[in-house]
Amino acid sequence: MRTLSGGWDLDSHWKPPANRSRRATRTHAPPRKRDCQRTCAVTPPKDWLLWIRNHKRIGLLYLVSITLFFFLGGFFALLIRLELMTPPGDLISSQTYNKMFSMHGIIMVFFFLIPSIPTVLGNFFVPMMVGARDVAFPRLNLLSWYLFNLGGLCMLYAVVNGGVDTGWTFYPPYSANFSNTNVAMAVTAIFIAGFSSIVTGLNFIITIHAMRAPGMTWFRLPLFIWSLYATSLIQVLGTPILAITLALVAGERLLHLGVFDPAYGGDPILFQHLFWFYSHPAVYIMILPAMGVVSELVATFTRKEIYGYKFVAAASVAIAVFGFLVWGHHMFVSGQSIFAGLIFSLLSYAVAIPSAVKVFNWTATLYKSSVSLQTPMLYAFGFIGLFTIGGLTGLFVAALGIDIHVTDTYFVIAHFHYIMVGGAVMGYLGGIHYWWPKISGRMYPEIWGKLAALTVFVGFNLTFFPQFVLGYLGMPRRYHAYPDEFQVLNVMSSAGASILGVGYILPMIYLAWSMRYGEKAGANPWPATGLEWHTPSPPPKENFLEPPVVTWGAYDMSAQPELVARLNDEDRMYEAALRVGARKREELDVEPPAAGA
């Protein structure tokens, strides 16, 4: 196991061999002033927020926005876990508790998880990974950030004005006719933020179709791009349905239209169909990008091509397609027909196939590889394990019989947190660490990174594994009080949540620290094969010093001899260090990396 932390930051010492290809020469050259002046000549007169159209800056703007919402949503989770420390509802009233879990869900789903990887890592890296200068529509991209924040402000208004208590699902008739909280403002917020999601998806689809560099064929695309393409399909096809459905709920609430109100001849089940038609695929909006990140991490840190690349790529699209056909499994007990339930159950099982293809192929990639257990890879391992648990318990709740036993219990809560937090957030953090050197130009402190990754893993499992047990024993979700015998497991869960919180705050601190004090990263610190690593860190305004031409498949390291040479050098140095027991490169009495090896 080699790490960058134990005095072995080989990259910063590494000098490129003499006979490298021209491309490699250029990647290590700093951007010349001449280039910058030309680039700046097309910069709009004011570098004000209205003029930011560069995809990398918009990605960073999104990073700031969604981080704020992540910690706001986390704050509500904190209050939920505090309340559940003791069996009686003694900290907050049941009404406040309803608002806490509702706002936790709404903010985490619509303002953190759905935008997280696509808007931050996607905006920053999709154009770079396909070899483009920017996304296809930079102005729309900026518009999407504004829409997101406008929606976010509406949500904040709803929060400070008394909150929402419908749950994140907004089921009528309660949401439309009975709730006395800010439902109309909250659905308006989601309506607006939904358009930002649509615009992002549209931009990625067109960017991936039309902006690829010469030679970047579909099957040379990194798997991150494939998964974001599948994600964008869902965003584009699903989000409008949610928008119109929530608009109808708002209309019903404000104008007493009665579309979903049985008192007026409306059908509340229709709302559930329309809502889950989007909101089930929305789960794949959250998990597919994380799967894409994990594919990148596994390839880079095993130094191998992903086993069965085409199957993993096709699995992304298959998950997106199947994802649209399974929404009814949220409604097994809602009064839909048993035959519909049967079909939806069967189709839900079908989603397990492409998901398992991915998990097995990542695992197969590990076989006989040289795994570097650096921070991003720890998150990738965390993802694979936790996603597997979340996915397998998903099969429990997709089975008609078991679902009736565990519907609306903590079993379901634990299941989807294993997917959304154990999967999506792990993927997000792994991706942030992996690409941080490229984004900031600096390395994060490796030892702190590993510590935080382990903290998140331990905290997560301690929080959510007891909830499987609680749910199976029958503790219902959305209650602020519970019988005494559930207390031990609930206290475990709350204790885990506080560890998890520390694990989330740590990266905030050391990543911010590293922006100023971290070691300079160099163009390709890991090293990895993607186009985004073939340019300085942080990248120049138009991403590449010269337009890239792609002649290799994704992850094909043998096509990039300079990387192979560099890894061989590293191996030799490492073995030499083992022989003499040196802890630092300076103590080594061996030749520096052979030029052109």
Binding site: R38, A210, M211, A243, L248, G258, V259, D267, P547
Partner: protein, 224 residues
């Protein structure tokens, strides 16, 4: 060599944005972008169409009775107006492709004019419904036994035609901007994708109406 390539990439024409390599790539991206946007629009209207299907299946008689309240003459006239506007839009696109500024500006102006005619007629239809107290809300009135389902029908009627009218208003605004740009000679046979994609949008809005008209106006007319 690298210098010239960097310089080439930044020789801007007003028509081409910096992120595109050439005009062809830009045209492909813009056209495909509009098609994908129209797909999202189909899904957006799709939620309403799905609700319509469910409630019409639940309340077939009420929908037929309520549908008789609509003014079929104005509805048919509006359908004709929109179909002609699609034709004038095609004329404008043809003008932009062949470099005829007269056809381009004339076609766009006619299209906007027909769009406004449609909206004015729609306004009078809405006003009629207001007078007849058929607007869903506290003052809604409809004879029994169909009061509630008829209210559902009119909710869907106003939601669907209202959303359609909103798209018409956006379309008229878009085309007005295009008229100004065309007047200033911004479009050439090489560069006219804004006209083309706005045309796609306009035809899409027309097609939505082609579905709305029979679904809303023509229920059970053969029974009369």
């Amino acid at each position: 060599m690298a210098e010239t390539s960097v310089a080439d990439r930044h020789t801007h024409s007003a028509a081409r944005a910096h992120q595109f390599d050439d005009a062809g790539q830009q045209r492909d991206a813009v056209t495909m972008g509009m098609w994908v946007f129209l797909v999202t629009e189909i899904m957006f209207f799709g939620g309403l169409f799905a609700s319509y299907v469910v409630y019409r299946a639940l309340y077939p008689m009420a929908f037929a009775v309520a549908s008789q309240e609509l003014d079929i003459k104005l509805g048919t006239l509006n359908t004709a107006v929109l179909l002609v506007s699609s034709f004038t839009m095609v004329v404008a696109v043809f003008g932009s492709q062949t470099g005829s500024r007269r056809m381009l500006v004339g076609g766009l102006a006619m299209t906007v004019a027909l769009g406004v005619v449609f909206l004015v007629i729609k306004f009078f239809e809405y006003y009629q419904k207001y007078v007849e107290r058929h607007i869903p809300g506290p003052s809604f009135a409809f004879p029994e036994p169909y009061t509630q389902p008829a209210k559902m029908y009119f909710t869907l009627y106003f939601a669907m035609t209202g959303l359609h009218a909103a798209h018409m208003i956006v379309g008229c605004g878009l085309l007005t901007v295009l008229i100004v740009m065309a007047w200033r000679g911004r479009f050439t046979p090489e560069y006219h994708s804004p006209v083309e994609v706005s045309g796609l949008y306009w035809h899409f809005v027309d097609i939505i109406w082609i579905f709305l008209y029979p679904l809303l106006y023509l229920i059970g007319r053969h029974l009369e």
